[in-house]
Symmetry: D3
C-alpha cells in the first residue's frame, strides 16, 4: 500500500513490452520508451525556446515522463492498429482510465491524490507542452519502427506505422521544433541504405504530399 505500490509499478513497466508480438529485432519496454519520449520532448523544448517560445518545463517533463504509466494496468495494446476501430479504442481507453482511478483511490495517500490524478491523466492537450508530447511520442515510434524496416522486418505494419507517424507529426508543422525536426534530423535518420528503400521513399513522399 501507499507510494511503495507506485514505486513497484515503475519496476513492472520495465517488463511490459511495447506492441507485444510485433517488434522482432529489438524489444522495447514501456519504461525505456517513457525515458526516450521525455528525452526527446526536452530537446524539442530547447528548439522552441531557441525560437522564442516559452516552455512550461515542469508540465513538459511531467506530461512526457508519465504519459504511459497507466499501461501497467492493461499493457500496451493500443499501438498495433489492425482490427480495432475508433469505438474499440475508446472502450480500451475507458477501461484504462477506470483502473487508474481505482489504483489512485486504493493506493495513493490522500494528500497526493490530486497530483496523481493530474499526472496519470492524458497529457496530449492543446497546450504547446501537450503538442510536444504528441510529437515526441510519434518520433520515438519512428525510430523504433525504422529500425525494423531497415533490418528487413517483412510486416507491412511498420511501414504503415512510420508513414502514419510522419503524417501525425506534420499536423504540428506550426511548431518550430517540428520544422527543425524535418529539416535537420529526419534526413539523417533516413540515411542508412536497405533493400526496398526506393519504394519505401516513394510511398513516404506520396503520403507527405497528400497532407
Amino acid at each position: 500500500m501507499g507510494l511503495n505500490e507506485y514505486l513497484l509499478g515503475l519496476n513492472n513497466l520495465e517488463t511490459i513490452v511495447r506492441a507485444p508480438g510485433h517488434f522482432k529485432y529489438t524489444k522495447h519496454t514501456v519504461a525505456a520508451h517513457s525515458f526516450r519520449v521525455a528525452s526527446i520532448a526536452q530537446v524539442l523544448g530547447d528548439i522552441e525556446e531557441l525560437n522564442g517560445e516559452t516552455i512550461d518545463w515542469k508540465s513538459l517533463y511531467e506530461k512526457s515522463l508519465n504519459h504511459d504509466y497507466t499501461e501497467r494496468f492493461i499493457g500496451d495494446i493500443k499501438t498495433p492498429v489492425k482490427y480495432a476501430n475508433k469505438e474499440l479504442r475508446g472502450m480500451l481507453q475507458t477501461v484504462e482510465e477506470k483502473m487508474t482511478d481505482e489504483f489512485i483511490n486504493l493506493e495513493i495517500p490522500d494528500e497526493f491524490q490530486d497530483i496523481f490524478r493530474r499526472r496519470l491523466a492524458d497529457g496530449k492537450d492543446n497546450s504547446l507542452e501537450g503538442e510536444i508530447l504528441a510529437v515526441s511520442d510519434k518520433i520515438d515510434l519512428l525510430y523504433e519502427s525504422f529500425e525494423e524496416i531497415v533490418k528487413g522486418n517483412p510486416e507491412q505494419a511498420f511501414k504503415e506505422m512510420f508513414i502514419e507517424g510522419v503524417k501525425t507529426i506534420k499536423k504540428h508543422q506550426h511548431c518550430a521544433s517540428v520544422r527543425y525536426f524535418f529539416a535537420e534530423i529526419f534526413p539523417e535518420l533516413l540515411k542508412p541504405d536497405f533493400y526496398g528503400k526506393a519504394e519505401f521513399l516513394m510511398a513516404l513522399n506520396r503520403a507527405i504530399d497528400e497532407c
Copy 2:
C-alpha cells in the same frame, strides 16, 4: 489475406506473453499455454472415459486448443486481477469479441467463417467439455504460479491466484476427473519444500475448507 493471415497469427501467439510483467522465473507464451491446456484436457478426458463418461473428443480438443487464440488481438490482460472489477473485465471481453468478429469478416474465406465463429467463441459452457476446459485452464495456472511460489517470488498475487484456482476447480468436484486430480496429482505437485510452505499450506487449507 485469407488463411495465411490466420497461420501468421499462430506465430504471433508464440511472442505474446501471459500476464506480462508478473511471471519472473519462467515467461509463458499464449501458444505454449494453449498447448498445455489442450494436453491437460485430453488427460482429464481420459479419466472421465475410464469412469464411464462419454467424451465428445472433437469438441474437447477444439475448445481447449483454440481457447486463447483471440489474445493475439489485445494480449493476455485478464489474468492479473488487481484494480479490475467485473464491469471492466466485461468491457475487455467485449473489445476482444468485436475484434474477433472483425478479423473473421476481413480475413477468413466465406466457407470457413462459421467454423471460425464457433472455434473462436468462448468455449467454457456447461457441457462436460466446457467444464473440462475451465478446469484445465486453471490447472495450468496452478502449475505456472506454483513454480513462482516455490522459487520465492515475493508477489503475493501468485499465492492468491493459486488458491483462487484451487477454489474454482473445486466447484467442478462432481466431475470424476477433478476428484482424481485432487486425490492423485495435486499432492505430487505440492511435494517440493520451500521457505514459507507451512504458512502457505495453512492458507490453502483454510480456503479449501470454506468452499
Copy 3:
C-alpha cells in the same frame, strides 16, 4: 511420479528449442510448435471435410498435439540435417522410443499406459489423419524457415529446408487440403519482398518441377 510427472513435462517443452543453434530471428519452442501443428491440422481437416472427406477428429487432434512430446527426452535433434545419414537418424529414433517406453513404465499409472503408448507413438501413418499430420508438420516448418529467409539469415540450410518441405508436401497432392494450400495459402506466404527473392523463387520452381 504419476501424471504429475507428465504435466511437468509439458512445462519443460516450453523451454526445449527447435533446431537449437539454427533459428536466429525467432526461437521456437517444441510446445509452441506443437500448438501450431495441431492448429494447422484442424484447418486442413476442415478443408478435407468441405471436400467431402470424413475426418476422425479425435485421431487428428491427438496425433498432431502429441507428435513431439517425446522430444522432452533428447530435445529436437532431428530437424537439422547436415552430417546425419538415414542410419544415424534411425538410431536417434530408437533412443527416443526406448526412453519413451521407460518413461511410460516408470511414471504413468497402469490404467493409462495403453493410451499413452498410442499417443506417444509415431503418428505419421498412412491414414488421412497421419498424412495431415505429416503435411502440417512441414507447413509449420515452411513458416518458421521462411521468416529466417525473408529477414536475411545467410544459413543456406533454411532455403534447403523450405524447398525440401515443399517437396514433401507435394507428395500428398492427392489430398484436397494440400491442393488448397498450394492454390490459396502458399502464394500469400510468398508475397513479402526480400533481397535475393528472384534467385530463391527460381530454385524453388526448379525443385517443384522435378517432383
Copy 4:
C-alpha cells in the same frame, strides 16, 4: 551527425545493462533506470513541496532524467564496487567526462552545446534538486537489490549495496522527503518475508545505528 546521433544514443541505453554480470533475476537497463529515477525524484519533489519547500522542477527533472546518459560511452561499470578504490573510480569518471566532451563537440550543433554541457554534467550538487537526485538514484538501487535479496541471490554484494544505499540516503535526513521515505515507504518495501530475513534486518539495523 547532429541531434539524430543523440536520439540514436537513447535507443542504445535500452541495451546497456546495469551492473552487468550481477543482477540475476531481473536485468535492468540504463534507460529504464533513468525513467525510474526521474519518477522517484518527482515524488520526492512533491513531498518537499507539501512540506513547504520550493522545487525548481525544470532542474529536478533535467538532472534526474539525464544523469546516466553518459553511460552509453563506457557502460555502467561504476556500480559494482569490488576491487575499485577511489582513485580508479576517479579515473573512470575522467574517461567518461572526456568522451562526453568529445561527443558534444563532434555531434551536437553549436547552438545546443551549452545546454548539453549542463545536462550531461554530474547533477549531484548541493542544491535541493541535486540532493533529491542522489537520494532517488539510491532508492532505485534499493528496489533493484531488494528484489535480488528476497529471491535468494546468494551474492553478498546485494546486501552490502542495500545497506550502503540506506546509509547514503540517511545522510540526507534533513530533507523532509527522506524522513517521509523512511517513515512511510521503507517499511512497506521491507514487508515480504524471505529466508534469512532476521539476520538481514539485524545487519541493517546495526548499520543504521552506526550512522
Copy 5:
C-alpha cells in the same frame, strides 16, 4: 567448406544450451562451459605442478578446450540422466562419433584430418591430463548446479547431479589437485546459506561417507 565450416561451428556452440529445459536461473552455453572447463583444468594443472607432477600442457589444454565441440551435432543431451540407461547413452555416443567422422571427412582439409580426429575424440583417458579433464568437467557442473540449488530450484535433479559430481571427483582422490580442491575450494563454494541447506549437507555427507 574447409576450416571456415569449423569456425562457424564455434559460433554455433554459443547458442547450444547445456541440459536444455533444466537450468532455470542461468542458461549455460556449450561455448562458455568449454571456456570454464579449460580454465579450471589449467588451475588444477598448476596445483599438480606445485606438487611435483609433470603436466603435458598442450594435451591438457587441447583436451579440455575441445571436449564438447562435437555437441554442435546433437546438442547436449547426455547431461540430464532420467530415463536413459547405459545402453541408450552408448547409442547416443555412437551417433555423435559417426557424425564427427562425417564432419571431418567432408569439411576438414586432408592435412588437418589427423589433428582433428585426435582433438574431437573423447579425451577422458587414464593419463593425468585425461583425469584432470574428467574432474574439471564435473567441477564446472558443481558450480552450475549449486547456483540452482542456492536459488531454490525445486528440481531434485540438481541435488542429485551435485552429489553425483562430488562422488565422481572423489574417485580421483589420488590426484593432488583433487585433494586441494576439497580442502581449500569446496568449503568456500558451500558457504552461502539457503533454505534447506542442513538437509542438503546431510545427504551430501552421507554420500561422501559411502564412497
Copy 6:
C-alpha cells in the same frame, strides 16, 4: 576468498556481453569469445607447425584462453571505438590493470600469485604466440561483425570494424597462418550474398590495397 573467487569469476564472464549495445542479432559473451579465440589460435598454431614453425603450445593456449578474463572487472568497453582516443583507451587499460593487481593480491593464494600475474597480463607481445593471439582475436571479431553485416545491421561501425580487423591481420602477413587464412578461409567467409555486398567489397578492397 581464494581460488573459489576466481572460479566464480568464470561464471560471471558468461554474463558479460561484448560491445554492449552494439551487436543486435547475436549477443556475444566474453566467455564464449574467449573459447572461440583459443580455438582459432590452436588452428593457426597447427598451420604454423605444418609450415615448419615451432609452437610453444602452453603459451599459446594460456595467452588465448585468458586474454579477456580481466574484463570481468570493467566489462568490454574497449571494443566500440567512437569518441575514445588513444589517451582514454590508455586510461581504461590502466584501470583494468590496477583492478587486476588488487584482485590477485586480495583473492589469489600466495603460491599462485606469480602464475596469475603472468596469465592475466596482456599477452599480445612480439612472440609468435603473441602474434597468433592478436590475429585470432581479430578473426573472431571478423566472424562476429560479418554476421551483423550480412543480416543488415545498419550501424556503419560493423563495416568499419571488419575492415579495420582485416587491416590489422594483414600486418601479420609474414606468418604462414595469416597467409593461409586469406588464401583458404577468408573467401569462404565472404561467400554469402547480401544487400549492399558490392559496395562493401569495393570498400574492403580499397582498404586492403592501401595496406
